[in-house]
């Protein structure tokens, strides 16, 4: 794609748009790239899907502290208080 940024550059830009308030206005060269590149369009949808899904599961990650670890911490609290 002559004169347009590469997929490597565009994916970096798309990621930054998720984080940086100043990156929200998309340069036309990036828009042009996305018009002709279905792979990067998919990439954008997917990193947004990942963000939404991560927030859905954030509190559902099924981990309990193993009893032996809990016991070690309990002992440390008693000794150090």
């Amino acid at each position: 794609m002559m004169g347009l940024p590469s997929c490597r550059e565009v994916t970096g830009r798309l990621s930054e748009e998720l984080d940086s308030p100043s990156a929200r206005r998309r340069p036309w060269r990036v828009r042009m790239h996305l018009m002709v590149c279905s792979a990067c369009r998919l990439y954008e949808r997917q990193i947004r899907w990942i963000r939404a899904s991560m927030r859905t599961v954030a509190e559902r990650l099924p981990v309990r502290m193993p009893p032996a670890r809990r016991e070690r911490i309990r002992r440390a609290l008693r000794e150090n208080k």
Partner: protein, 195 residues
């Protein structure tokens, strides 16, 4: 939210009430059970010593999680982790080199995932898949990614917490997303959930 007189705050009660949540938080951010245990212990001890500063304005869980978040950041900044972070920010051998050709085009373009959002009844299986994918990240990538994507911590606060610049944070997040996306394509969309 439970607000009690300061004198009744008790580190062992915190361990009972919030131990699982704090451990889960630390484990998903560091990927290491021993480290997670140490960090929870340090957090509860620090909270006990600083109990006079607890105003009861936020819930105990929020207060303790705030302390834990700083303990995790201290852990990442300690010793050789600084070198690891510098390695993470270098270009040579980065995940970009693995995923893109010399001219910057995809080696293997993303495949279709379908249009459906994650369904609630898939959440548990997905949580387990994402947990495996997080293990593929470096410690600093993992910490950056979980701060932003699990917790929606703002860029300024996240970079302050990790002791890095916003630009470095963008690089770490970008590489984490490239890695997580590739991992989910193989282990989630290629297996459990086919579009």
């Amino acid at each position: 939210m439970s607000v009690r007189p300061i004198g009744e705050l008790d580190a062992e009660q915190w361990l009972e009430a919030h131990g699982d949540a704090l451990y889960r938080y630390a484990l998903h951010r560091t990927g290491n059970p021993d480290t997670a245990e140490d960090l929870v212990q340090e957090t509860l001890l620090a909270a006990w010593r600083g109990r006079d500063s607890y105003q009861g304005g936020s819930s105990e869980r929020t207060w303790l999680t705030g302390i834990l978040r700083h303990k995790i950041a201290d852990h990442l900044r300690r010793g050789s982790r600084q070198d690891a972070m510098k390695r993470d920010l270098r270009d040579e051998g980065s995940i970009e080199d693995a995923l893109f050709k010399g001219d910057g085009a995809w080696r293997a373009p993303p495949t279709h995932w379908g249009d459906d959002p994650l369904a609630l009844n898939e959440a548990e299986a997905f949580a387990s898949a994402i947990s495996d994918c997080l293990d593929e990240l470096s410690p600093t990538q993992r910490a950056s990614f979980t701060l932003r994507e699990f917790e929606d911590v703002g860029v300024d606060e996240a970079s302050r917490t990790l002791g890095i610049t916003a630009n470095n944070l963008y690089v770490l997040l970008h590489r984490a997303r490239l890695a997580i996306r590739r991992c989910l394509e193989v282990h989630w969309f290629g297996g459990h959930r086919r579009p």
